[in-house]
């Protein structure tokens, strides 16, 4: 019961934030002084090659798409309606190609890099942090400084250095892209075997950074726990070390879990830039290209997608916390 209420509250909260995010995505670009469509069409003409009549057509298309002839609140509902139909607008740079397929092409690559990296980094980082805190001594000092260094290295910096050392200097792994020239993405073993060589470098450069961040957090949590009364009490009772460590680990784990939700946004940001470094054809590279071409619909679709991903990840972490954290279930009986 308490759990259901808890989950319901979290879902409602996520929806509220989602609406705010939609509003921001809608409103911020419209704050540009003047008519955005004029500005955009102006930019297209700067490139040259587009005739007057065609321009007029493009202009009308966008006026209609944005609903700029209608009042603001009506524009907002047009926008929301389109988003929910999966219609993300038309790309400026690749007119008249719609944004949806562009995103659909890029998204799987981003997911293939980020999701495994986040999971692997989280697990390895927490193990390292807990072991370092418990063992103490040189291992702790080394692991702590190492993780602090890894977590404070900007993700793209690590990516650049890995790319240069492993890819360019040693020449072990390919230096850019996601698969060899001449192949087309398909579900075959040959393609997979080729693509995975391109996958290792961006994957590891993300994982190393995540490990660092998680280990630093886990270490401080575990040291907190090591000093708490129940640990002393267990020691006094002569409870086996391994047993106590399990308690410590479980207690220190929970904030790490909520911490993961809080840091998801930063992880995704780091991932986008890492893609850029490796010219990996994911959302990061698409965003980069779109910014370079002032392709507003693509930019806004990507920011919306990032927001949705972060919100879903947060919600998932919150719900899982509800299952893991006994205090939430215990509220039912009035205990805390």
């Amino acid at each position: 019961m308490a759990l259901a209420k808890y989950i319901g509250r979290k879902v409602a909260w996520t929806l509220v934030v989602f609406v705010v995010a939609l509003l921001l995505n809608f409103l911020l670009p419209r704050l540009i002084p003047g008519n955005p469509v004029d500005a955009i069409v102006g930019r297209i003409t700067q490139g040259g090659g587009t005739g007057g009549e065609q321009l007029q057509q493009i202009h009308e298309h966008y006026m209609q798409e944005f609903g700029l002839d209608k009042p603001l609140w009506q524009q907002f509902f047009i926008y929301v309606g389109k988003v929910f139909q999966g219609d993300l607008g038309t790309s400026f740079a690749n007119y008249p190609q719609p944004v949806g397929p562009l995103i659909a092409q890029a998204l799987p690559w981003s997911i293939a890099i980020m999701v495994p990296a986040i999971i692997v980094g989280w697990i390895l980082g927490n193990l390292l942090g807990a072991v370092a805190a418990f063992k103490g001594g040189w291992l702790d000092r080394g692991a702590f400084i190492g993780s602090l260094f890894l977590s404070s290295v900007p993700p793209f910096a690590l990516a650049i250095i890995l790319l240069f050392v492993v890819g360019v200097q040693l020449g072990i792994l390919p230096v850019g892209g996601a698969y060899s020239f001449g192949l087309t993405p398909e579900f075959s073993l040959a393609f997979f075997g080729d693509a995975i060589t391109y996958w290792w470098l961006p994957f590891w450069s993300l994982v190393l950074v995540y490990i660092g961040g998680q280990a630093v957090g886990m270490r401080s949590m575990a040291i907190y726990e090591l000093g708490s009364d129940y640990v002393n009490y267990n020691r006094g009772l002569g409870v086996k070390e391994g047993h106590t460590v399990r308690y410590i680990f479980r207690n220190a784990m929970l904030p790490q879990f909520t911490g993961l939700a809080l840091s998801i946004a930063a992880l995704i940001t780091g991932g986008l830039i890492t893609e850029l470094v490796f010219s990996y054809p994911g959302l990061g590279s698409l965003l980069f290209a779109a910014i370079g071409q002032n392709d507003y619909p693509v930019i806004s679709a990507i920011t919306l997608l990032i927001t949705i991903a972060v919100l879903i990840a947060n919600l998932a972490a919150d719900i899982l916390t509800g299952f893991i954290d006994p205090r939430i279930r215990a509220q039912q009986s009035g205990e805390r």
């Binding site: 934030v17 921001l24 404070s152 401080s220 830039i273």
Partner: protein
């Protein structure tokens, strides 16, 4: 806080930070080369002494000049944005935590929404919409979008201070709202605010470089991020022109690492629970046994031991609440 209690880590951090600041603010005076002037060929290799100490970039500009000016830009953006972010977060957090009631509810809701929406998204949307971007607009945008977590953390602290006795004394002696905030609540948070400011500055510097790498950097100014943008754009990593991208990468890493190291060593000073007993460690090393003694219960300092980390679990302890 006596100097004796400061760890070697703290001093290493201080030396690194001072070094970075010297590079950023004295460097441009020493390296007199104009970072926008063409002094060499495309990716000309480094050669000793002179503007080409670190070679030339894709436009034949001196990398060393760009590096020192870029460091200065990053530091300026970081300082402005970090201080703005800390100030707003501090103000909102103090008022929300101390006032409580509906003010707290409204402010907390805003903060929570702000925390849930990725900062990068807001910053991208705003910077794309700006008619022109320079150093200062970029710093303002980063500052005004990055204060949410400071506000949340400060709120948690100030709402716990609200119930302390000395606040009642201040109220009874007729102190006003702002006076209490300034003289009776803020001092208890100062150590925390200093650390938050350091984190804000380092994350603002990271944000600036991230935005610049995406192509949303300040126009007309060299920053470490824009150097990397051009290096990637021109494929210097693949062609092996290491002098174009390794210096800015290392500089950024050094800036962020030194700031984080400073923050974490200050955290150990202000927050003794994170510190293992030094005496205990020495003993353990001498006897060759594992560290057995739990954390020493030192003077907890004004902020108290509970609540420094975002969520100190208190499975065995009831006091953290």
């Amino acid at each position: 806080m006596s100097l004796r209690g400061l760890s070697p880590r703290f001093w290493v951090a201080v030396v690194l930070v001072v070094f970075v600041v010297l590079v950023g603010f004295l460097g441009p005076l020493i390296v007199s080369t104009n970072p926008d002037a063409t002094v060499g060929g495309l990716y000309e290799e480094p050669q000793c002494c002179g503007p080409l100490l670190l070679g030339a970039d894709n436009e034949g500009q001196s990398v060393i000049a760009n590096l020192v000016y870029g460091t200065r830009t990053s530091l300026i953006v970081g300082l402005i944005a970090g201080l703005i972010g800390t100030a707003i977060g501090l103000l909102v957090g103090l008022v929300a935590g101390y006032r409580g009631g509906w003010v707290d509810d409204v402010l907390s809701a805003i903060v929570n929404v702000g925390l849930a929406i990725p900062v990068l998204v807001i910053v991208i949307l705003v910077s794309v919409s700006l008619p022109q971007r320079n150093l200062y607009t970029l710093a303002l945008v980063i500052g005004f979008t990055g204060w949410f977590w400071v506000a949340r953390a400060v709120r948690a602290q100030s709402s716990s201070i609200r119930t302390r006795e000395h606040i009642d004394v201040a109220k009874l002696s007729g102190a006003g709202f702002w006076s209490i905030l300034r003289r009776d609540v803020l001092p208890y948070l100062l150590s925390y605010v200093v650390m938050a400011a350091i984190l804000q500055i380092s994350s603002a510097i990271l944000f600036e470089s991230t935005l610049s790498m995406l192509g949303l950097g300040a126009s007309g100014t060299t920053s470490l991020g824009t150097m990397l943008y051009w290096a990637i754009q021109w494929g210097s990593v693949r062609t092996g022109a290491w002098w174009a991208f390794i210096p800015p990468t290392l500089m950024l890493t050094l800036i962020v690492f030194s700031l984080l190291l400073l923050q974490s060593s200050l955290n150990e000073v202000f927050n003794p629970r994170l510190r293992r007993g030094r005496a205990a460690r020495k003993k353990a090393v001498k006897e060759g046994t594992e560290l057995e003694t739990p954390v020493e219960a030192d003077d907890a300092g004004p902020v108290g031991s509970g609540g420094f980390l975002e969520t100190p679990v208190s499975a065995g302890r009831g006091e953290a609440r």
